[in-house]
């Protein structure tokens, strides 16, 4: 897709150790503009460690981390954000008791006035928030509504709209659908597609292949801290993806065991 140009974000052979525990070993993947790379893995596969490296929470120990072809080493999430990498953490993205517009601009509030009279430009903040949310298909009538009263999907939308507005080139979504019902998950997947249509690179981390499959251009499966496989869209079927996710052969064996147990001595 973006063969000649350097991908927006790329990691090559990245590893992470916590003491003598190998959290991640030799992980490589990339995402280009207008692409969705899905990182799949079961619990304990290393998804959280991986996302923390991408987000700048932990530095990587081995390997290369490239942003637009340039090697980087993030010291903090702020560094990552400055390079246009925005991470939306599952359930840690918004402050429930604060209003929608306050959440939208939290940490980067637009201000007017100087010195001690410097204050938040509330009117502009509310208007911008409304416009940006409208682009995602949400009509926020009451800007002062606490975020906690929004649905789970809408709350993710606030976090995604915020990241896009503040100039994210790469959007990293940490399990955005895991706590949601079927319909709300669909809503969030639509935002993923929209972000891609707007030319962002999206890294979509999930343990649900059914959510990843319809939106992904590239699928990367992690298992026990290692890369199990890397496929382009069309190179792998949904069923195969499900199988790979649960450790491939392990699932076959499990199915076999369960079947034999059920069929076994009554």
């Amino acid at each position: 897709m973006t063969a000649e140009k350097a991908p927006l974000l790329e990691v090559r052979g990245v590893s992470k150790y916590f003491g003598n525990v190998i959290a991640l070993k030799d992980i490589s993947l990339g995402v280009g503009a207008g692409e969705v790379t899905c990182v799949l893995g079961d619990n304990g596969a290393g998804k959280s460690s991986f996302i923390k490296i991408l987000a700048g929470v932990h530095p990587h120990d081995d390997g290369e981390f490239l942003v637009e072809g340039e090697p980087v080493r993030f010291k903090s999430p702020r560094d990552a954000r400055e390079r246009g990498i925005a991470t939306v953490f599952q359930d840690l993205a918004t402050v429930p008791l604060m209003s929608v517009w306050r959440n939208f601009f939290l940490g980067s509030e637009p201000t007017v006035g100087k010195g001690p009279l410097r204050r938040i430009d509330v009117g502009r903040a509310q208007q911008t928030m409304r416009e940006e949310m409208r682009k995602m298909g949400i009509d926020v009538r009451d800007a002062d509504q606490p975020v906690g009263t929004l649905s789970g999907g809408e709350r993710q939308a606030v976090a995604i709209a915020r990241a896009v507005y503040f100039g994210a080139k790469v959007l990293i979504l940490d399990e955005p659908t895991s706590a949601l019902g079927v319909k709300q998950s669909g809503v969030v997947l639509r935002y993923v597609v929209q972000a891609r249509e707007r030319g962002l690179g999206v890294i979509f981390i999930t343990h649900n292949p059914h959510h990843a499959y319809p939106v992904g251009d590239r699928f990367v499966v992690l298992n026990r801290g290692r890369l199990l496989g890397d496929w382009r869209r069309g190179e792998i079927g949904r069923d195969e993806l499900v199988k790979m996710m649960s450790g491939g052969a392990e699932l076959d064996q499990l199915t076999h065991e369960l079947e034999s147990q059920l069929e076994g001595p009554g």
């Binding site: 991470t87 840690l92 993205a93 009538r141 789970g152 319909k183």
Partner: protein, 363 residues
């Protein structure tokens, strides 16, 4: 979760890639946000009603309460309490407690007293040093809480006892008594007491601390509602992790809040010391709970992230009116503790309800 958002039976909601931007859909659940609903979202509604009820009660049942002299009386009590309640409210909105805030009013008063009467420093430099000392203690409180990640309840409880011990020990060691007296003779006393402890409106003698209180409450309200700092205070108390993730300097905000509380305590300590021109070593002990009660009555959640400075001021007003009202009614003033307990319980119950409403869909 999110059952309210509609039937989960429509599995087809998963969109195919390349779907167009959907048309904004008006959410029918947001249809009518009436005035009442808007009011109910404000944290200070409960305390406003409470203040009106208590004011009306004592106004009607006693003779003095409603006179200007009476009002000067209860606004005086409410003012120093209110200054502290506002600072404590900011800290509580930021998700922390300071149990050393009460005893700090004693420590700072004693420090100023000793600096001036024992070590010959004149009033204004002593006041500056006292504020500096308070800021340092506040910083240490905040730094320890952030560094150890222990509950601020425990850390400031320790500070509370340390300061209480120091207050008594140092005062006794230096003066041989449990009080520091004679501030009235210190150079600069007149100008300082004019600013911090004078009265105005001659026959009724309203306290200048009332002006301080109103100014501080107004400033705090503006900070909370209209500045980045205010936004960050709500954020660090509401969800410290989410705030950190969007780049809010959580530790800096919380440490600043501890320092604000300590500086407010110094202001009140200085006011009381100048007013009486002497300081008791036991000054302020136990007051920290009254501050917290005033803040909670004013709508602050004990869990942080919600509350207001106006609410805390109204809470302080309720406490002030009740203390003086009980006195005017000729009842035994010990009943005021029972009153504090009852309004605290009522306020917490109301706040819980508000919180559930505000967090609505979350759980």
């Amino acid at each position: 979760m999110n059952e309210a958002s509609g039937g989960g039976s429509r599995a087809a909601a998963v969109t195919a890639p390349g779907a167009p931007t959907p048309e904004p859909v008006a959410d029918e659940r947001l249809a009518n946000i009436g005035l009442v609903a808007r009011l109910m979202r404000r944290p200070e509604v409960g305390s406003l009603l409470g203040a009106l009820v208590i004011c009306a009660f004592f106004w009607l049942t006693t003779d003095v309460f409603g006179t200007l002299n009476g009002i000067a009386n209860w606004t005086d009590v409410a003012s120093t309490l209110g200054i502290m309640a506002v600072a404590v409210a900011l800290l509580m909105i930021g998700g922390e407690f300071d149990l050393s805030a009460g005893v700090m009013t004693g420590t700072t008063g004693l420090l100023m007293g000793l600096l001036t009467t024992e070590w010959g420093i004149s009033m204004w430099p002593a006041i500056a040093l006292t504020f500096l000392f308070a800021a340092t203690v506040g910083f240490l409180n905040g730094y320890m809480v952030m560094r150890t990640k222990l509950p601020s309840f425990i850390v400031t409880l320790a500070t509370f006892f340390v300061l209480q011990g120091v207050n008594l020990g140092v005062t006794k060691a230096i003066t041989g008594t449990v009080r520091v007296a004679g501030l009235g003779d210190v150079p600069g006393y007149d100008s300082a007491s004019k600013l911090f402890s004078s009265t105005f409106w001659a026959p009724h003698n309203f306290r200048i601390s009332v002006i301080w209180w109103i100014a501080i409450a107004a400033l705090a309200t503006w900070v909370l509602a209209r500045t980045r700092a205010g936004n960050w205070i709500f954020a660090v108390g509401g969800d410290a992790n989410a705030s950190r993730n969007v780049g809010v300097p959580v530790a800096r905000v919380k440490i600043a809040l501890f320092m604000t509380t300590a500086i407010a305590a110094a202001l009140v300590g200085i006011m009381i010391a100048l007013r009486l021109s002497s300081v008791q070593a036991g000054q302020g002990v136990g007051e920290e709970f009254t501050y917290i009660i005033a803040a909670v009555v004013g709508g602050c959640l004990l869990t942080g992230g919600y509350g207001s400075a106006i609410g805390a001021s109204l809470g302080a007003l309720i406490v002030g009116m009740a203390f003086i009202g009980i006195q005017f009614s000729g009842w035994n003033t010990d009943w005021r503790f029972l009153f504090l307990g009852v309004i605290l319980l009522l306020a917490v119950l109301v706040n819980n309800l508000v919180r559930h409403r505000a967090e609505g869909a979350r759980r």
